[in-house]
Symmetry: C2
Subunit: 260 residues, 2 copies
Amino acid sequence: MLTHPVPNSIGAAHTIPSIVSVDAHSIKVACANCNLRELCLPLGLSQDELDRIDNMVEVRRKIRRGANLFRNGDRFTSLYAIRTGFFKTCVASEDGRDQVTGFQMAGEVVGLDGIVNERHSCDAIALEDAEVCVLPFDRIEEMSNQIHALQRHVHRIMSREIVREHGVMLLLGSMRAEERLAAFLLNLLQRLHVRGFSQSELVLRMTREEIGSYLGLKLETVSRTFSKFVDEKIVVVKQRHVRIIDSDALKKIVSPQVCS
Amino acid sequence: MLTHPVPNSIGAAHTIPSIVSVDAHSIKVACANCNLRELCLPLGLSQDELDRIDNMVEVRRKIRRGANLFRNGDRFTSLYAIRTGFFKTCVASEDGRDQVTGFQMAGEVVGLDGIVNERHSCDAIALEDAEVCVLPFDRIEEMSNQIHALQRHVHRIMSREIVREHGVMLLLGSMRAEERLAAFLLNLLQRLHVRGFSQSELVLRMTREEIGSYLGLKLETVSRTFSKFVDEKIVVVKQRHVRIIDSDALKKIVSPQVCS
DNA sequence: CGACACCTTGAAGAGGTTCAAGAAATGTGG
DNA sequence: CCACATTTCTTGAACCTCTTCAAGGTGTCG
């Protein structure tokens, strides 16, 4: 949704959208200045609309690695736009098994699960020290009545999440281990690339067990599949550091050519 | 969202919410009269609001068994509230495998996947002759600016879909075949029960293969698992007719007691 | 440096898939 | 209304992928 400037990062001054480094403390806390704005907010907002949207952010909140942003059962009040850091969300079955339902990074929104029953139905846990913008949902609803682009934006974010989950269902319902892991890596790479990171290298923020939970596999299977990719010279893995050697091979694993 | 009265069904006259049988042709086509209103619309709307919401329905549309309500790639314009009939939605991977992402029945809404990219990203196919109310999405957005309860309602519907999909991910990611099928049956029963059907008997509208796709299993496994439940005297199955004998056993399969 | 969490690898085993055949239901056309 | 084709469902047997159990290695943090 929206966020605030990151210290020591590239921000744009108010009405001058040039790329200028500025000291953190000199920046007005405002979405208009946030370097994640393109991810959080719709394009083409007027200055007036931007100013009003700043009021949507109640506070920023820091979450330490391992801590919960919210828990299953917590009263729902707000959505959270991730400013920095990395989260996982997970649901638990009654008998204690749990399932990672997603990994979220800067510029993404968590908390949509809470709207329907006014209570969260999953846990959101920081996988590294993180900071989020707290967006009270009733303010979002209020503002989106005034700013049509924002209303549309909120709807698109929710729809995007639904479509993402369709993709996960396809993965869990019909792919084999190698395909799942390849799809997972490509998805992470693509999202990191949008954020300016390398297309061929990444650092996993989660354990093998968390990857396994997300992909419907056991941690041993994840580990073995990584090893298999290494044997096949598709990637180089050193703990959580992954370097992609043959990105086409990964793509081919996910969707085998029709002509093959 | 909203629907129109079903011929030969129980409807309520305009401002008199008593239960009265009326001829289909004599009923004003209006959400206020629809017997699915409690499923489609928020509670506590004023008469004025109800009248305005009627304008949200563009037309009704009939879909024959086996036909598509929409297809992957179709331009998105509207959401669809199911009046009668039964649908499946499915996504396809690039190499042709496809995955059923859900089964939808009267009072439920399909089409949410299309909002994000203005194109549908899945197929919606009628599993029996069906009728839907067509709800142009820009009208929904417009109306929800005027009627707060409607805005909230739309948000809740989208959030509910996200939470439902979390449940499916848990099922696909961590349950065994018996657990999946038991959870599936209980879910269908519960939804049918809300609609006034029996809690102990149902007619499956989909094939074993479609159930399998939804549950991440092959059709043979679905069939075998049904047979297993029959052997264990949990259900009686005769083709698509299923009668539940021991509902507690099903519940126990889904979430084994902690104290066992 | 030692404790702890995380990762890798091997071997055995289970659950689900694949392949195949036949039975039951459904639909079609004469 | 019946015969035939088609689709759907069931069941068996062999196979395969992933899991489970176990042990040891690697990295990290107080």
